[in-house]
Amino acid sequence: MKSGLYFARSASVAARRMGVEIIVMSAMDSSLLTLNEIASLIWEAADGLTPLDQIVASTICTRFDVEPHRALLDAEEMVKCLAARGFLKLSDQPIPSHELR
């Protein structure tokens, strides 16, 4: 299954890994959220250039006993949720780094 979804971390977000979790804060409104272990791996892989399906296949399915189709659906839901809150930028095209500044 292909996703064709590209995503990158917003420039107005600060993030820090704390153990297996990552805590993320919006510098615009100070809202906070904590990403679990799997979400943290996806967050760290968000380079704007690698499509989500490739990230899920290489980062999640190789480490966790998950069904690939299910994992991709869950990952899509997660990145869309983070994008809706301004933490990520989504595109159906690769996102050059200069577009994130």
Partner: protein
């Protein structure tokens, strides 16, 4: 600043955490009020990091039209305002001006905001927390209004020094975090002592039916800390700095949840 300060003006320097801030005002009465309110934190420093001219007025709608403090930034210029004051401050030069009613509360708010902005760039922050020094170590008790900040330090052992019963100043120095006394209090509280000490533990306060202490780690600890950080600005640059400092803090200082029943016995658990 020097162009507007006149010969009639009197001055006073308030120094918190080695950050002297000089205030000028042409009202001797108001300068006296400042000296009384911040008596433990007055300084003779001739090298202030910031300088403010205070203009007193009887106007009652001075800034923002809001009961909450509103802080805005344009470049290095900051505008800090509430219904009872309007302050402008230039971060680059340290020069500022505040127009306010003749009450200590507007000035106290300006001072708090100013410190949050200055501390953000110095690996520090203000926290809704009481704190004391005992045996050379600082113990910090964080929580919003009603959490028990004042109550817990009221029951502290007699050899403990009060740093604050309302707003703690926490700053990283030489790789370690220290708590610094502040003159900030609310209601019938009292000013802290002008001292500092390395932080032993920070406790996130919770009321309960029994006394207990539990460790809080990782992201939960960062959440618990940031919920209590005083930060008035929505400036992305400074917000990121405060976030980074809070994460560093959690990596260096033990964070615990302290559930307690008001009373002196809680201090048997605090070490």
């Amino acid at each position: 600043m020097t162009q507007t300060v006149t010969a009639r003006m009197r001055r006073v320097v308030i120094e918190i955490d080695n950050l002297p801030i000089r205030f000028w005002c042409d009202s001797s009465d108001f300068i006296r009020l400042i000296e009384e309110r911040y008596s433990g934190f007055l300084s003779s420093s001739n090298n202030p990091i910031s300088e403010f001219e205070i203009e007193l007025t009887t106007e009652d709608r001075l800034g923002a039209g809001s009961e909450e403090v509103v802080v805005n930034r344009e470049g290095e210029q900051w505008l800090i305002q509430r219904t009872d004051f309007r302050a402008q401050w230039d971060f680059a030069t340290g020069q500022g001006r505040v127009r306010q009613v003749a009450s200590i509360y507007p000035l106290d708010s300006v001072l708090r905001v100013l410190l949050t902005l200055i501390l953000a760039r110095k690996d520090g922050f203000l926290l809704h927390a009481s704190s004391v020094i005992q045996n050379g170590n600082a113990f910090v008790f964080a929580g919003k209004s009603g959490a028990g900040k004042t109550t817990i330090v009221k029951h502290a052992p007699p050899d403990a020094f009060l740093l604050t019963d309302d707003v703690s100043c926490l700053i990283r120095r030489r790789g370690a975090f220290e708590a610094v006394g502040t003159p900030f209090y609310c209601g019938r509280g009292r000013s802290g002592e002008n001292r500092e000490a390395p932080i032993n533990t920070i406790y996130l306060l919770a009321h309960g039916s029994e006394n207990k202490i539990e460790p809080v780690q990782g992201a939960t600890a960062v959440h618990g800390l940031l919920e209590n950080v005083l930060f008035f600005s929505r400036d992305p640059e400074l917000t990121k700095l405060v976030f980074e400092t809070a994460c560093e803090f959690v990596n260096h200082v033990p964070v615990r949840r302290l559930t307690f029943v008001p009373g002196a016995s809680i201090w048997d658990l605090i070490r």
